[in-house]
Symmetry: C2
Subunit: 286 residues, 2 copies
């Protein structure tokens, strides 16, 4: 038995993180407020000042991240007046100077991107998920995010039935799930660094900044159960809700009061839930 905690803090992550000790978190995954020229919008940091605004905060991220930890930054520059902003690539260079290793750039392909037509531009259907690390020996659980090969989904999954799949997902490593896993892994392949996810366009009150599948993928890939996850710009709480569901401890920080309330609601029903850990489950088999 293990208690998994999820906590939403109100404030600027620059200040809030000072309360946390060095080397606390295994994963920092976040989608910060994008640079925007308009002052009334959330964030309101103009592109020219974005790097200067970000660096003091990423300095704290660097401090509280474990040496084996990973920092995933979901960010995308916008096109304005016909040209792409450069603040994101300038941020990459600045973060390296700050001591981060730029280890990977994942591409999130948004299958259902925003529509629109312009005379000299197509719809923007991708975002960067930049990976930074403190050391080259970071924790990575590649088996946790394997994907079905070829037409596996159409052929075998259909014959399995929905309940079987749910059972498999919830109890890999024991009994029924283990048997499936034996032949399943032969049918699975490692993914690439291109993620195909749709944005969530549901009728929920709080529209998620990014879909649950995005933090879920990185949490599975870079943490074990019981590890600590941080989202310093947690917004409506997606990251913490997913971390909680996956049995990871999490801290979310949010500046805007009303988002704090939303985020707390999203994790409320399960905050005190006890998660049972299968006795025969080894994290590195996942």
């Amino acid at each position: 038995m293990r208690i998994t905690t999820a906590e939403i803090k109100h404030g600027d992550c620059l200040d809030v993180l000072r309360e946390y000790a060095d080397n606390t978190f295994d994963l920092i995954v976040t989608s910060p407020p994008y640079a925007d020229r308009r002052k009334h919008t959330y964030g309101g940091v103009p592109p020219e000042k974005y790097v200067d605004w970000f660096l003091p905060r990423s300095e704290q991220f660097l401090r509280v991240l474990k040496p084996t930890g990973t920092f995933i930054l979901n960010i995308k520059e916008k096109a304005e007046n016909g040209e792409r902003h450069t603040f994101v690539i300038e941020l990459i260079l600045a973060l390296r100077r700050q001591g981060w290793l730029w280890t990977e750039e994942f591409i999130w392909h948004k299958k259902n991107c925003y529509p629109g037509k312009w005379p000299n531009r197509f719809r923007d259907a991708w975002e960067r998920c930049l990976q930074f690390n403190k050391t080259r020996r970071f924790k990575m659980r590649q088996e946790a995010v394997m994907v079905p090969m070829g037409d596996w989904k159409e052929t075998r999954m259909k014959s399995l039935g929905k309940n079987d799949v749910i059972r498999f997902n919830s109890q890999v490593g024991s009994g029924f799930g283990k048997n499936i896993a034996n032949w399943l892994y032969r049918e699975m392949a490692y993914p690439t660094n291109v993620l195909h996810l749709a944005t969530e366009c549901s009728n929920k009150r709080h529209s998620a900044a990014f879909p649950e599948a995005l933090p879920e993928w990185f949490i599975k890939l870079f943490t074990d159960e019981g590890d600590w996850v941080l989202d310093p710009f947690v917004g409506s709480g997606t990251t913490c809700a997913v971390a909680l569901r996956l049995g990871r401890n999490s801290v979310g920080i949010e500046l805007v009061r009303e988002y704090v309330e939303l985020a707390r609601q999203s994790i409320e029903p399960a905050t005190a839930t006890l998660f049972e850990t299968p006795t025969n489950h080894a994290p590195d088999q996942r």
Copy 2:
């Protein structure tokens, strides 16, 4: 009747391009030799010196490109010693200082990329196709690269959603009918800035060749028939072969002698072919 030419020049594009007048080409599309520390490989420019090596050449590109023209740079930094090189993003910043507009970054998603497994890295399944322009008013033929639409039209036309009605009501006058007419006969949709192309594995002796579909897409998008296409690092001649097939004039430049021979062979069979131009064809209608 019109004669389409394709010519392969031997030499360094820095020197060869001096023979060409200002504002000659409508499109420059190329996949330059990647930075590489090993000297025996093609290119052999170390990453630290890549920008300095590239800038004099891109200065020539800027000169010979028409004001309405486009420069597509297919390039991807490689991971070395566990970290991504920054020379590509530094090159973007340097090209902007040189006078280029960084108008777009297309993502080429390589659907069947080379298999492999590393302890802390997934397969690299994408490359950057950076778009640069001299002005914001560049030529773009979006209709030439439209893709078959999903079932959007059918579902949309079956019944208009309440939201559509609201949006139409907000318009003045006969906007409603006009928009419906736009949808009625449409079977194709505009693509996004993510290209899904398979790599051609059945390839020749030139290792860095990109698939024909890649230059083809950009040639269709940014040129009309009879326009001029340049590939300053033409390698085995893919760009020129495609340009010829599409009825565009092209110049390819290659430093390595044996690749020059390969490239010339690839366009040989059709070099002198006469392309018949339909008499009722107007370039601006495409």
